[in-house]
Symmetry: none
Subunit: 402 residues, 2 copies
């Protein structure tokens, strides 16, 4: 039997900050002197902190595997991302800010173009504008509110994308995608793959019939495709699992949504890191654990913009003294995955991680960079064990065995 | 299927010494120049050995988890401490030097104080003196020798602590603790949690009734509490598992006891490390594997006495030449867990490990310290794989697969 952390938990007073700079890790870029973004950035505060901390490299899922935001955060929260999976539809719903309830079935939806034979000729409906998508989704929402005892919730995303949520009793999520994934085919029927999902299938068929009738004369968006039917995973909430009053401080809906799934309190917040740190300060007395999510590093990496990612890291660095002034018992700085500018997207590279606590141990790493983390005392470890180190350093874990 | 070491074993001549300096690892102490105890110690012999050895850091159980002495040694002996667990009662019995037989049920016992309503008002009976405990346990032993066909064995520990062992046929250990763990409650009944433990429960109830009647007029120790009912784990003995004639050289009963559970020969020995090394020399010809346990480093760490722990390490260092003079094929120096003076107790930090053998490989580590071990060729690995490295370097493992 693996060690059950819950049986070892003990009371503690120390506050914990998990600062996630999304996609902060990178790889050396040949156009920038063979440095990574962290190496190229001027980060006096992180440098000083690194010398008082222990460092390491965390594998988000497993060797060579590039995680999406779901698995990335599942690991950071101490759950096994190979065991616990969040479906595509659920993540999309969280990404547009929908609050899911237990039993809801969510799906990613696309507007598409079909010809007179019902064959899909453009899976993205010519990438219609976001405004066009909002107009169409508004119209569909108006006309289709309920099917049987099931509420139909639609919310637009960017361009041709939107989200469908079915809310009602007796729904399952084992339904076949209608998206054929290639042009030149008809959309599939949302066939139930298990008996428990037959009602979902029936409701979806009615929904599709009604929706298609409403958009059939649209020049581009005359069809729609659904995929990634899923329900929120059943999981032990983070605050109960670790005995920590837990606050998630994030601007982007996706990260608030993931944190909400895990039972974090998620205040409404706009602005940028400055507002997030202010929120941290204001809530300091009322929580034990703070998940602070900084998105901009990932966005710059996704755009392949090395210089901007460097600037985002330097901006982050400015807030380190303010966070330290709160005197956290444990402060961790890391990413949920790497996003090297060189790759224009998420990658499989381990996340550099820094853990500060008076009891952490020590190493000879001088800066918070990938290469220095390689020298770190924490070594290389799977991200889902980060919470073990955090709880230990917060003196919130008792002894295992006599 | 994991590799089965036993199938790979081959004959060898080389002697192996596993020198366990209990709790030797530490963390930097701010009051001592930011050094760990190993860093602060003057250890010319260990330094020289480190330069001829490979080093690493071992995780005793899993990331962030602080092991007790049981799990710490289970790992060192090559067994998985998450799988094989030794119950509290068994460890306590070993700690007071009781030799357990198969089927014995052991429990940790406390004298306690209860009020006239039977409510426990002091779980430790005012920490009565060890002499008082010895008197009371002696009296109980005299009066309660057998219940039905079960022998009752009692042995005093320090202050209010003692150990109860039931020896007889048909006993199980799945019995509820009687210790409520908090003052203000009555002791629980020793209820059987499984059918196979009903006889144990019955015997315990009779024992408790008889014992309570005998101590009811004591001013402080007028009650007793039992917890951690357990039987020795069923396991493949170490000498058979590895094909090694194995001797455990230890002064403290707990470590002799653990080693005896694993099938080591355990000579009676008093004194200190000097006597242990003499015992090693005297038995050199007759065994293949020597587990040599040095306790003082742990005791100093538990007391939070940095300077004394440094002295204990320096004392250990003096014996390295004598051990090397025996020409072991493999010499390992490590701990069963870390005990940083800064934390006044066991901790989750990985154990520094040094492995000397002519075939071990090499690294750039210059001293046997936590930070130097971080640079070591062995990297970071779970303690239960140490025996793999030991057997390999002793040239006692054949090839896996053709």
């Amino acid at each position: 039997m693996p060690v059950n952390l819950k049986e070892l938990l003990k009371k503690g007073e120390k506050k914990i900050v998990l600062l996630v700079a999304d996609g902060v890790g990178g790889v050396p870029h040949p156009d920038f002197g063979g440095k990574t973004e962290l190496e190229a950035a001027t980060t006096p505060h992180l440098d000083a902190l690194a010398r008082r901390s222990v460092l390491g490299l965390m594998t988000p899922v497993t060797y060579g595997v590039t995680p999406g935001s779901g698995p990335g955060h599942i690991g950071l929260f101490g759950y096994d991302p190979e065991e616990l999976q969040i479906g595509r539809g659920v993540l999309e719903a969280l990404g547009v800010g929908l609050h899911l309830q237990e039993g809801d079935v969510a799906a990613r939806a696309n507007f598409a173009t079909q010809n007179e034979d019902g064959v899909i000729i453009d899976r993205r409906a010519g990438r219609i504008s976001t405004e066009e998508c909002e107009r169409l989704v508004g119209m569909l929402s108006e006309k289709i509110r309920n099917i049987e005892d099931v509420e139909v919730i639609l919310k637009p995303g960017k361009e041709h994308r939107f989200v469908l949520v079915l809310r009602g009793p007796g729904l399952g999520d084992r339904v076949k995608d209608t998206d054929p994934q290639k042009e030149g085919f008809r959309a599939y029927e949302p066939v139930a793959l298990e008996a428990g999902s037959e009602k979902t299938s029936r409701i979806l068929k009615i929904f599709l019939e009604q929706a298609r009738a409403l958009i059939k004369d649209e020049p581009k968006a005359n069809a729609l495709l659904l995929r990634g039917f899923s329900q929120s995973p059943v999981l032990e909430k983070f605050p109960e699992r670790y005995g920590l009053r837990s606050l998630a401080i994030a601007i982007y809906p996706m990260y608030k949504g993931i944190a909400r799934l895990f039972g974090f309190d998620t205040p409404d917040l706009e602005g940028d890191l400055q507002n997030e740190v202010q929120c941290l300060r204001e809530n300091w007395a009322n929580y034990d654990f703070f998940f602070l999510h900084y998105k901009d590093t990932d966005k710059a990496g996704e755009d392949g913009d090395f210089a901007r990612k460097v600037k985002c890291i330097e901006y982050l660095d400015r807030f380190i003294p303010e966070i330290l002034a709160l005197e956290p018992g444990v402060l961790v700085v890391t990413g949920d995955h790497s996003t090297p500018s060189l790759l224009h997207g998420h990658s499989w590279h381990p996340s550099p991680v820094l853990l500060y606590s008076p009891f952490a141990g020590s190493d000879e790493a001088e800066r918070f960079t990938e290469r220095e983390c390689r020298k770190g005392y924490l070594g290389q470890f799977p991200a889902c064990f980060l919470m073990n180190f955090i709880l230990a350093n917060a003196l919130r874990l008792g002894k295992f065995g006599a």
